[in-house]
């Protein structure tokens, strides 16, 4: 029944998608993609041969060199780097230690854009809050000159929605603490694991003078709560050295040219940069690998009507600098759709899209084409992706292929974001989903040697 419906729907959307593939052709592409090794090859190579790729650093620059070579070797056209300027924040020595009442070291990492302590560190009394709201309503006098600690725990969710409100302590806490005159702030890591690996991540002081801001590993934050519960004043020595300087990043762009150069392009991508603690395997080596492998699978099958443009965005982590640079340079070019993979390497479980009312049948066709891969049909009026949000907000149609985020925040922004966390079989399902999506939206693929294959 699925196939009949699908064929009917493709027929309905025929005026929009020139020479659409038959369900059987899509199915063949999908099944071949389930044996994919392109994506593993990319993420294994990038994380092994480059490692961490902190935005604006020489490591990210090595990542761009690697990406250009790889994309050319895979046969893509118009491979280039589009550079842009940005402020570069880098981490120095860091550590946290309880001085009293129970001397011991705690595992900590500075948050991106943290202010710096002197090299010898600072010492202050802890003042504890269980949420941003509690900090916000506290009198300034209770916070002034102290080290604020927010202990709120993040819940585990499949759709990652826990990262919204419960990301508040990291995103908003430092600014509020700084405004109230705090000496520094430490937050419980925005994460769902129980390992001694702190979760870094970006925050902004928005006009407030930066103060040192760090994330304690979850076991250490829980330890600090237990220590505080003993009722004695808690003194912490904190070293969070960092610095910021003007620098440069860039987007790496490659294309699979379509048969119709005038047709609006299909944009797929992820981000090349990573935080500096891990090797950026799930955030976002997997993402660039999945999007690129899917485009390569279309290339292997033949020539799409529409040009597929692959973007490995630079400097996503510190503030979507690559996404904004792309929007500034290319936002006015016609895009048929944009999609970004940036939520790990677990199975795609839901498809959302925002193709517009007129293309609703195409959205439904996409849902039906993905159902055999275990993908739940989601909304047809929403789509997102951090680097492509500026485009989508500017009216570009978007597709959101949602990965299962149940385990994502165990690893997100930690030293544990390494290759061994990627399951090659789940990575293949991602490639199959993305290949299917591209096939459905491609406008039809012309096989170079159709007669010989049939």
């Amino acid at each position: 029944m699925t196939r009949i419906l699908f064929a009917a729907l493709l027929a309905t959307s025929a005026p929009l998608v020139a020479a659409p593939l038959t369900p059987i052709e899509v199915g063949a592409l999908r099944d071949t993609a389930l044996k994919d090794d392109y994506a593993w090859d990319i993420v294994e190579g990038l994380t092994t041969e480059v490692g961490q790729r902190l935005a604006g650093t020489e490591a990210e620059a090595r990542g761009r060199v690697w990406a250009v070579a790889k994309l050319k070797a895979m046969g893509f056209a118009n491979v280039r780097v589009e550079p842009f300027d940005m402020p570069v924040w880098t981490r120095g020595p860091e550590g946290a230690e309880i001085i009293a009442p129970f001397p011991q070291k705690l595992a900590i990492a500075a948050l991106g854009n943290s202010g710096t302590t002197p090299p010898a560190g600072i010492t202050g009394e802890i003042v504890h809050f269980d949420s941003v709201e509690a900090l916000e309503t506290a009198p300034d006098a209770a916070v002034r000159g102290k080290i604020v600690f927010i202990s709120q725990a993040m819940p585990r969710t499949q759709d990652g929605s826990g990262y919204g409100y419960f990301g508040g302590p990291r995103r908003k806490g430092p600014g509020i603490a700084g405004k109230k005159g705090a000496m520094a702030i430490v937050v419980r890591s925005i994460g769902t694991d129980h390992h001694r690996n702190p979760h870094t991540g970006v925050m902004s002081f928005e006009g407030v003078r930066p103060i040192p801001a760090g994330a304690l590993a979850v076991p250490d934050a829980e330890q600090l709560v237990r220590i505080i519960k003993r009722g004695k004043p808690v003194t912490m020595h904190l070293t969070l050295v960092s610095e910021t300087h003007p620098g440069r990043s860039g987007n790496v762009i490659a294309e699979l040219p379509g048969r119709d150069p005038a047709a609006p392009i299909l944009l797929v991508g992820g981000h090349l940069d990573s935080w500096d603690l891990g090797t950026g395997a799930i955030d976002d080596g997997a993402g660039v690998a999945i999007a690129t492998a899917a485009a390569k699978r279309i290339m292997d099958a033949g020539r799409p009507l529409r040009t597929i443009r692959i973007v490995w965005f630079g400097a996503e982590e510190p503030g979507i600098f690559g996404g904004l640079a792309y929007q500034a340079a290319h936002g006015k070019e016609p895009h048929y759709a944009a999609a970004e993979s940036d939520f790990g390497a677990d199975l795609v479980w839901k498809v959302n899209s925002k193709l517009g009312e007129a293309r609703k049948p195409e959205a439904v066709a996409l849902q039906l084409a993905l159902a055999p891969l275990g993908v739940v049909p989601g909304a047809t009026d929403e789509a997102d992706g951090s680097d492509i949000d500026p485009l989508i907000e500017g009216g570009v149609p978007g597709v959101g292929l949602s990965q299962d985020g149940t385990g994502y925040f165990d690893l997100h922004h930690t030293p544990d974001d390494t290759l061994d966390k990627i399951d090659p079989e789940k990575l293949r399902q991602n490639v199959a989903v993305w290949t299917t999506m591209l096939a459905v939206l491609s406008g039809g693929i012309e096989e170079p040697k159709r007669s010989r294959r049939r």
Copy 2:
């Protein structure tokens, strides 16, 4: 049927165990212990208020002060510290970095007794072996002046037997590498997890001049293998600063005096010291907590015939210094049995014992008493426990209450050995097992207010 058999067996062993408890009395003690909070209170307190307790350091000394206060507060008698001298190894700054061909940092921790690098570190070429045997058979010329890397992986087992042979790279590797003239050695952590947390642990150079020796976290060791497989020479910069000085540790001893002061004593314990990376929750805060909680449960029930002696051994990790000091001081006193809890906080799944041929019925009675707690009857001619091994080798009867080790080597000797890894319900099963064991071997417990309880 179990109860009938058990009663019959207790009757058989009556000449040996004066006034044995009936199965119902043992069952009541066991069931009460399944609601235990004493053990959690101890391990939560010790790990929170003291934290890590590296042998011979002021942190371990604070641990002894804490232990004495706690054991006295719990009502035990003859609480004292028996000090002993030992060489103290302490960790300094450490780090590993690939210089070429793919620059990146790796997570590393020095092994206990490692030689030291200069503060600025050393740089050398990696020579890779997949086992101790491969290193051993390599010509010295292939190793001399290089940094040896052993990449052997440890298998996951329930009984912990993987820690024997597969612990070889850590235990034997440094000595062999040093003898062959290596500049340093790094091994894949002896562990079963995939986190960026290296597993430290002790090794001995046995007469060879110490060289710097470290353990890479498992993901980092796998990364290094991938880098080596690219076929280019690999250069590593290694900083492993440490130092050794003469120092002091001690055993903390407490007693529940028996009705018969002349009867051989029952020794139960664990070790107070821990490695310095975590807070020593599963190794071995849980062990001292379980053994002590069980003795306290016997105290709450009444007065045993035999004295129960609790020992929180000092300095187990760097070389069983506490066990050897106890053996030297007390090895000639009559011990009815000795048992040590030092394998985490997971469920006890098997009981071994070595009580001697004449006490076989007692060994079987113990097995049957533990069966309702899901404990498999094991051998009756073997028992072990690192601190009590010197006693057992000297002829003291032993009981081995084997904990499930399936997940133990995910955490063992890592920063991740923290309180949050202990499941309070599993801890209670341990206390119930140990309470049952003590009840069976106690010689009978006289309830202080028997008439009022009945």
